[in-house]
Symmetry: C2
Subunit: 417 residues, 2 copies
């Protein structure tokens, strides 16, 4: 069972992966009782002096107090010689909590700054859970001392658990890449399973690396990967108030500093970082509320990249497509309808729809080779690939989603209480 | 039980209404066995000579063959002295059926034209049901003779039943309005319960009136009402390939011809027509697949009308809002999140959210007068009003939707088979 008492997603990996230790990053988790009882719900992460920090956040116009605070602090271009910290709680999102919400953020990040001897503008925070309830920040502040005492470079798996809400499994991913003169390690954790339709960043994601790289270059590497990773997933078309992705680079690797993202080492680092981002994004979909199928939507031949994204998201968010997948019904007509409503340029007579290697529809109607039995058999797979070729241009986009099942209704008709 | 074997929606009216006879309009329904067995599935409607016809159709780029055909015929500005006919089948949408789909439309409308002695460009058609299967049009043509024999001005209720697919109850609405020198009667029927997020028109809707009014004026009256009726509802955010709304005015009323929509009589007619459109639109939501609650979303104070529509639809389509309503959970934080993702201009600290007369949130956080118990009690109602005031400008829009329940998954994970 996951922390919220839900059965573990059938799409979960067998176990939490072995993540490499990132020198200069320590974790500590504890139970503050913010909302949940009998589980950890706060994680403190200390990042060593000399680290670069980058971040991306939700574009929601009702974003949470901690998101606004993180954005303001990152925009200040704070002294990169100082250390940094991130404190995260689950159980309460501290979103739509007005002036009191900002006071809570100031109180919590102030307490962490005092305890760790850091400037307050290098202490970032995230809160995830219910929207609109005041955050009982005293409960978090009360355990900051204990959290500090427990800081440990090996604490990443416990941190991945403490930040879960309706998640049914903890999510981690890593990569190791050859730098100039040594290995560079990347390790990340994420939480998220509902309210997932990221817009610039998503959910809560923390990625750490020992690479030596400046904050502006790290930010560039991060932003360049968003479109094909966190902005390419959706569980339920609902964008969170609290999406936050923070990347910290400690510079403790033996490899030389990355000063150019287009160098061989720069490209290798960017590719590895994006690989970790993609894996974490896909893990969030694999823990999509009630999910029983993991679905890749490959759109090609669109008139533009924007059109490809529009079509891919229209298919991925269509409740009718998602329920057909849940019912293992090869109902490709609903994909046609989703393409039609997307607003993207489309020509019915050029449209081609395929499941895996099987072409179901082309040239404006059912493919002559269409085999209902084979199509239905394909739908029994746990991992599905839906191809939509618009036949118009070079625009392409791949996105990931899950099906819409009774489990989603169970979880969301009764989450808050 | 409805025709598809589903229990009747708890939001259904007690019975099908008494609709006034519209002189010059006859209906006949029969069982062609297009897909369903043991029920009627084809309706023929004959409209007398001298009638004006207007229409509005889906904007989907993958619209069905019959929609394309209707649009082409209406654009030809066909001779309004000739009579007209509409033939409708359920069980197969004849959408994404390529050249063969157009052949089916030509065959069916040609057979009706021959049988009734009408020019073929005055025979309109609609098909609703599964997408992507060839329409077995011979089965429809085989009963056209029987349908002709059964034409009857009193056949409207049977027609409302024959056009149902996953609908659980037949839908009708009417109005009578004082014209210049006599009464004008309006009667309409509709079908629709899933794939409902109209874009210009919706589902299948047929409205008849004995008003004397030219086709261009009738079209103007129709189009002016779309934004606040059919384009203001959503069940599941999925736009159909087959949405069609046709209005016919037979001119058989004793009232004088309406030659100006802004005259007293013109305004009364337009208001009555829009009232019938709104009632039919709301009936579609009341038959939303799996619906247990009817929800009105009132957005006010938006920076523009477009923004008001965007916010209203973001709230109405949010799976998290809809599942919270299904669970009778006053989880207004999900409404905040939906406003935030809508893309409309919003200021967290000006936003006000209310349920009925109860203000839940204002000035950036929970209202001081918020009473969880009262809010929860309100959610037990079958008809709910959610108010969102953005506090920015004059833009306002009201839309209607339903909740998202296990029933929706039941119906759609297994509809086609």
């Amino acid at each position: 069972m996951g922390k919220a008492g839900l059965p573990v997603s059938p799409l979960a990996p067998a176990s939490f992966p072995e993540l490499p230790v990132i020198a200069g990053v320590e974790f500590s988790s504890g139970a503050a009782g913010v909302k949940y009882q009998g589980r950890t719900d706060v994680t403190l992460i200390r990042i060593a002096e000399g680290s670069s920090i980058a971040g991306a956040f939700t574009k929601s116009s009702t974003r949470a107090a901690c998101v606004l605070d993180n954005q303001a602090k990152l925009a200040q271009n704070a002294d990169t010689n100082a250390g940094a910290a991130i404190i995260v709680n689950s159980g309460n999102a501290n979103a739509f909590t007005g002036a009191r919400g900002l006071e809570s953020v100031a109180a919590v990040t102030g307490a962490v700054a005092d305890a760790l001897g850091l400037p307050q503008n290098r202490v970032f925070s995230s809160s995830t859970g219910v929207i609109g309830e005041p955050l009982p920040h005293d409960r978090i502040i009360a355990i900051v001392g204990d959290l500090k005492a427990g800081l440990d470079e090996a604490g990443v798996a416990a941190a991945a658990r403490a930040i879960m809400t309706t998640d049914t499994f903890p999510k981690g991913a890593s990569a190791t890449v050859k730098g100039d003169g040594g290995q560079i390690r990347i390790a990340g954790i994420a939480k998220g399973s509902g309210m997932i339709a990221p817009d610039m960043a998503t959910m809560l994601v923390y990625i750490f690396t020992d690479a030596r790289i400046s904050a502006p270059l790290l930010q560039g590497a991060l932003v360049g990967g968003l479109a094909s990773t966190f902005n390419a997933i959706t569980v339920d078309s609902d964008t969170s108030t609290s999406d936050a992705l923070i990347v910290a680079a400690t510079g403790r690797s033996d490899a030389a500093e990355i000063t150019d993202l287009s160098s061989t080492e720069g490209q290798a680092f960017v590719a590895a970082l994006h690989g970790v981002m993609r894996e974490l994004a896909q893990l969030v979909v694999r823990d999509g509320e009630g999910a029983s199928k993991f679905v890749e939507i490959q759109v090609t031949g669109a008139a533009s990249e924007d059109d490809a994204h529009r079509v891919a998201m229209a298919v991925a968010n269509s409740p009718l497509v998602k329920t057909a997948i849940a019912g293992e019904d090869a109902n490709w007509g609903r994909i046609v309808a989703a393409v039609g409503k997307s607003g993207a340029e489309a020509d019915r007579d050029l449209l081609k729809i395929s499941f895996g290697d099987m072409v179901l529809a082309e040239k404006g109607w059912r493919s002559p080779g269409y085999d209902e039995e084979k199509a239905s058999a394909y739908m029994k797979n746990q991992n599905l690939i839906i191809g939509v070729d618009l036949g118009l241009g070079q625009g392409a986009r791949t996105v990931w989603t899950c099906d819409l099942t009774h489990g989603y209704i169970d979880i969301n008709a009764d989450y808050r209480s």
